[in-house]
C-alpha cells in the first residue's frame, strides 16, 4: 500500500527567509504524481506545486520549488522569500496513475503547520 509521511508536525520561518518542508513516500509503482497542497484556516485545499515521477527536472512555481529524489522516495518543498500569507498547513500527496487518465486515489501525508514570523 502507498503511504506518505511528513515527519515535521510544525515548522516556523522568519519572513523573507527560506524554509524546507520534508516528505517521504512509499510505493512500488513507477508512474505517479506528487503534489504539495496548502490549507489555510479557510479549509480549502489549494494546489501549490505538482511533480511528475517520470520527469527528472524539479518543478518550480515562483517562490515554491521541490527537491524530488525518486530513488530515495523523497519530495521536499522549498519556500523562498517567505511571506505572512504562506502561513498554513501544508500537505504532501501522492496519486498513482491507472492506465489512461487520472483515476487514482490521492493519498495525503499528516501535514506540516507552517508559521511565518514577522
Amino acid at each position: 500500500a502507498q503511504t506518505v509521511t511528513q515527519s515535521q508536525p510544525e515548522m516556523s520561518v522568519q519572513e523573507a527567509e527560506t524554509v524546507t518542508l520534508s516528505c517521504t513516500y512509499d510505493t512500488s509503482e513507477s508512474d505517479y504524481y506528487l503534489f504539495w497542497y496548502k490549507q489555510p484556516p479557510s479549509r480549502q485545499m489549494i494546489l501549490v506545486i505538482r511533480q511528475e515521477a517520470y520527469k527528472q527536472q524539479n518543478a518550480t512555481e515562483n517562490r515554491f520549488s521541490v527537491n524530488f529524489q525518486k530513488a530515495a522516495k523523497s519530495f521536499s518543498l522549498k519556500i523562498s522569500d517567505s511571506q505572512l500569507g504562506d502561513a498554513a498547513m501544508y500537505f504532501c500527496a501522492y496519486i498513482r496513475l491507472r492506465g489512461t487518465g487520472n483515476t487514482g486515489k490521492l493519498i495525503f501525508g499528516q501535514g506540516t503547520t507552517l508559521q511565518v514570523k514577522p
Partner: protein
C-alpha cells in the same frame, strides 16, 4: 471557472442523528471524491466516483455512511446515525479524467460537530 461548491459550511448535530452534505463539482469534471479530515490529520478518502459509478469506497463505513452521485454531476454524502468520532471536516473534490495527473480541486468543506 466556478470552483467546487459545498454546503452547508457548518453543521452541529447530536449523536444518533442523521446529516447530509451536498457537493457540486466543477463543470466537466468526471471524477468526484469525498474526503474526511479529522482535526490535525491529513484527509482520508471515503469514496471516489467516476461519472455516476463508484471507483473506490473501501474506506467508507458502509453501516452508517452512504453516498450517491445522481446523473454524474452533484453528489450527496449521508451519515446515519452519527457518532462522536464522525466529527471532522468533509471535503469534496473533483478532477478531469481525461488529463493524466490533473490535480484535484477542492471545495471549502463542511465542518461537522457531533455532540
Amino acid at each position: 471557472e466556478a470552483g467546487v461548491a459545498q454546503s452547508p459550511r457548518y453543521k452541529i448535530i447530536e449523536k444518533r442523528q442523521s446529516v447530509a452534505f451536498w457537493c457540486n463539482p466543477i463543470s466537466g469534471h468526471a471524477t468526484l471524491y469525498w474526503y474526511q479530515q479529522i482535526l490535525g490529520q491529513g484527509p482520508k478518502l471515503l469514496i471516489q466516483f467516476q461519472n455516476n459509478g463508484v471507483v473506490d469506497d473501501s474506506q467508507l463505513p458502509k453501516d452508517r455512511f452512504s453516498a450517491e452521485r445522481l446523473k454524474g454531476v452533484d453528489s450527496t454524502l449521508k451519515i446515519q446515525p452519527a457518532k462522536l468520532e464522525d466529527s471532522a471536516v468533509y471535503l469534496c473534490a473533483s478532477s478531469r479524467r481525461d488529463i493524466s495527473g490533473s490535480p484535484l480541486h477542492f471545495g471549502n468543506g463542511t465542518r461537522l460537530t457531533v455532540t
